[in-house]
Point group: C2
Amino acid sequence: MDEIVEAVNKAIDNYLYEKEPYELYQAVRHLPEAGGKRLRPVIACLSCEASGGELEDAIPFGVALELVHTFTLVHDDIMDKDEMRRGMPSVHKKFGENEAILAGDTLFAKAFEVISLMKDAEIVKRLTRNVSIMAKEICEGQHMDMSFENVEYVDEKIWLEMIEKKTAKMFEHAAMGGAIIARADENKIEAMKNYGRNLGMAFQIWDDCLDVIGKDIGKPVGSDIREGKKTLMYLYAYVNSDRKWLSKYGKEEYVEEIIDIFRETGAIDYAKNKAKEFSEYAKKELEIFEDSEAKRKLIELADFAVEREK
Amino acid sequence: MDEIVEAVNKAIDNYLYEKEPYELYQAVRHLPEAGGKRLRPVIACLSCEASGGELEDAIPFGVALELVHTFTLVHDDIMDKDEMRRGMPSVHKKFGENEAILAGDTLFAKAFEVISLMKDAEIVKRLTRNVSIMAKEICEGQHMDMSFENVEYVDEKIWLEMIEKKTAKMFEHAAMGGAIIARADENKIEAMKNYGRNLGMAFQIWDDCLDVIGKDIGKPVGSDIREGKKTLMYLYAYVNSDRKWLSKYGKEEYVEEIIDIFRETGAIDYAKNKAKEFSEYAKKELEIFEDSEAKRKLIELADFAVEREK
């Protein structure tokens, strides 16, 4: 997979060719050039190959998704007032809020430029449609996430809808887009779509668990608890306990205590199992694909999503 | 032209079909539903008809441009801290800054969704490419405009580049897109492109003049002077006077005095003539088109751009 990441990094560098205005493009390049796992391009490329296409053909689309992903991070960091990202100051912290708004907008525009440069017009049309609807749904997910800050409890179903929109949809489109580029049959495109969405759900829920049980995750343990975030563990503990801990949630000094409560009520196990369920759903969708190196890597990815310790 | 405006308004209403999350889509609809001249869709539709196509075929593209236009207004108002727009509170004033960032992003995404719904894949591909590059250039123009706040003087050439990117490019793409949708020859597409850009330049420069000489323009006379904005009149007076007024620029109590200086130095006439030059360039580009009702309206529009009093 390192080879895909390298090819994606090179492609990002090529597509972000603009030089002026200098300060704007410094802000635009700040996050994309800071590296990252490039998970979405990797999924798109592996899906393309597993669906009978050439891995390389999905790189431009993978780059487009990475640019949309980066755009959402830049704007989310403004909204959430997050000052750090990938171990560096966030874009608005370094370049100011106005420049960060513009840098995000520019990254979003660039994503569609990259898609439009693909050869096949029918595929460009379909991917433009998919990515524009996906971006809209990510905005809806971010809106939901922000609105959860003002309530004590949300129904698990609504919470799952939020992470589906905010996170899992992009995994869905990465996997589905790869199959579209490979010109796979519609049933295979549909299977990849489901694989991606379930993988995304698994990744996000496991990510929330790592905040509590992770090792060397690059941020202090319990950040979500400290910030009072509504996670699946919070929602489970809310329903399955006496809620005496509720007034302590979101406070630095009680982080350890809350983690104990999450453990004792079974909230951590519940969330971990939920993530593993989604991972299993994801793998099941791959059954209709012939065995291949790429397919095996997609299965590995679904296992990795719920086994990783950081 | 009222018929086009009505059709565009109806189409905007249809394309913005989303209902939930409620607050987000209230913010999304706030500006598009507040009306406006719908200049960009009108230009796209007239260009399409003047190029031999059906006027109605350009409506979706016109709506897409209107959504991009609205998206830039929403984000610009945050950056410029403008609290009023179209006689109403701006989106961030009414819904908060976070919601305004998201509403702008959603409008931007919707624009590409609308383009992707057009039938002909080759046209979708070309328009996606054009609009994405245009949006990027609008961001560059906004960046330049903001950067001018921190300097005493900018070269007229650089200033013209700024308004070309920030404003004229969208007129360029409106006119060019209409011709593309009409499947016109490349030389006609090119002519419409030049018509639109020059029209946009004329509109923007005349708009700046109206800030000084206009009647009932919906805001107090001299707003740009009060805010210390670099306009073409400012730049001309800067070069062609003793600059003793410089320390008074941007201050409420000197607005009348500055207007007098702009008049005496010939800055107002200079800017008005510049706008008229661009209007003439625009009209000249239409010579290769056969006479038609739509062509005559495009000529009228170029005259109107530099004759209107508000």
